[in-house]
């Protein structure tokens, strides 16, 4: 019996070697959620679509459904972001962290996640276009992706009692800023500018975000990373490897 085919737009999140010349491709699709599919023979130099299945590519893909893994039948490139990202090492490492986050935030395969797909597509596009500093794009992506997952940090009101802020202390286990009454031991005391930057990134206020200096961005990145790793339980492998130097091109 012929296996059912489906066609979708997708982002290539990760590729893994399989056997002699095949790969398992992890895709974040527009309507089918995260899909893992086998791409046969794509490591051979004669492969007709191997180059389109490299990480960070935005593709139009046709797959046939399988019992455990689907099979990639046909691929057309829409925007192959990897080509631009690979010219700039800091942006490549940033894109890797974005791809891993997208994968980790979609633990169940074939569960549609249109908002996360569009957010990931936008982030990779912004990185490839070099529109904004890579670290700001990454932190904005992580904050918004966590927000979609229901883990947005509370940045105005106390995360415990909801008392209106501004508050100075930030507690990762509590889920954001905390008032003096709720502040647990070990809570961090970030600068007001760092909290304002996080808020600007969450709300898409790029004017405010881009006016900050490197020190504030570093402080904000530390809080975002700690908040993400706390909720994911198992840390992201790529996040410590993000090269936070200014882009080389």
């Amino acid at each position: 019996m012929r296996k059912p085919l489906y066609r979708d737009h997708a982002l290539v999140l990760r590729v893994q070697r399989l056997g002699e010349a095949d790969r398992i491709i992890s895709l974040l699709t527009r309507t089918h959620g995260r899909v893992r599919a086998v791409a046969r023979g794509v490591r051979r130099t004669t492969s007709r679509f191997g180059a389109r299945l490299e990480p960070f590519g935005h593709i139009d893909v046709q797959c046939s459904e399988g019992s455990s893994l689907d099979t990639v039948m046909q691929v057309e490139g829409l925007s192959l972001f990897g080509r631009h990202l690979l010219e700039d090492y800091p942006r490549y490492t940033t894109a890797s962290a974005i791809a891993e986050t997208a994968e980790r935030l979609t633990p169940i395969e074939k569960e549609p996640t249109l908002r996360l797909y569009l957010l990931t597509l936008g982030a990779l596009n912004a990185l490839a276009e070099k529109e904004r500093p890579a670290t700001l794009i990454l932190d904005a992506y992580l904050l918004r992706a966590m927000s979609y997952a229901g883990w947005a940090p509370s940045l105005r009101a106390c995360a415990v009692c909801a008392e209106a802020g501004p508050h100075r202390a930030f507690s990762v286990p509590a889920g954001g800023v905390v008032c003096p009454n709720c502040r647990p031991p070990g809570a961090a005391h970030p600068s007001t500018d760092a909290l304002n930057l996080m808020n600007a990134l969450l709300e898409g206020d790029w004017g405010t975000a881009q006016s900050t200096d490197v020190k504030i961005r570093g402080e904000s990145s530390g809080l975002v990373a700690a908040h993400l790793q706390w909720h994911l339980e198992r840390g992201l492998r790529s996040l410590p490897l993000v090269d936070r130097r200014e882009s080389t091109t």
């Binding site: 990760r14 590729v15 399989l18 056997g19 002699e20 130099t45 004669t46 007709r48 679509f49 191997g50 180059a51 389109r52 490299e54 990480p55 960070f56 490139g77 192959l80 990897g82 080509r83 690979l86 010219e87 700039d88 090492y89 490549y92 490492t93 890797s96 962290a97 791809a99 891993e100 492998r237 790529s238 410590p240 490897l241 993000v242 080389t248």
Partner: protein
């Protein structure tokens, strides 16, 4: 599920890369049916490879002495150094007969998604070799995939300030193929790297 030695062998074989449970079972029963002399030879080869083969102290290619055959060869050029991901890439380049310089084997490629960064590769040793001043050209022959390209970009970033010429292997159309079947990336690169006749 089998019992005893045969199941142990299936379990061990299925831990090898590219070998699933079915293949492991097939190989295990092949071993069981094979001639004892053949299996003893296989067992001796496996033991010998772990006991005698090591990594060259200079280039990290596989060797049976302190230095590999290429590093010991005085006829090879010292001013050209070719960086590859794995020892099998050295064999592939040697087959071309086009390169007479030395090699450096990184032991993989940068892959943040798998937790492999520059510190997990033999990049520090490469920088140490380059600081001796003998090398005038560094040829980056990492795989033409995302991880290989990222590794090449990183190495170029680190090495260019040292005043060493950094080159990358050309990529383009495979010999014997039809142009119409080439994907847009490969064809685009072939155009970028076109040469005057």
């Amino acid at each position: 599920m089998y019992e005893g030695a045969i199941q142990d062998l299936i379990d061990e074989l299925s831990r090898l890369p590219g070998i699933g449970p079915k293949s492991a079972q097939r190989l295990a029963f092949h071993v069981l049916a094979a001639d004892t002399t053949d299996i003893k030879r296989l067992s001796a080869a496996l033991t010998r490879v772990k006991e005698e083969v090591r990594f060259c102290v200079l280039c990290f290619n596989v060797a049976e002495e302190e230095k590999c055959r290429i590093c010991r060869d005085p006829r090879r050029r010292d001013d050209a150094l070719c960086v590859v991901e794995e020892p099998k890439d050295v064999v592939a380049i040697e087959r071309t007969g086009e390169f007479r310089g030395r090699y450096h084997v990184l032991g993989g490629a940068i892959n943040p998604l798998e937790g492999v960064g520059p510190d997990q590769l033999r990049i520090r040793e490469l920088m140490s070799r380059l600081s001796s001043g003998e090398t005038s050209e560094l040829i980056l022959a990492t795989d033409p995939n995302t991880e290989g390209e990222a590794t090449a970009t990183y190495l170029a970033l680190m090495v260019k300030p040292m005043g060493i010429t950094v080159t990358r292997l050309a990529s383009g159309l495979p010999v014997g193929g039809d142009l119409e079947y080439a994907d847009e990336i490969t064809l685009g690169r072939a155009f970028e790297g076109r040469r005057k006749l």
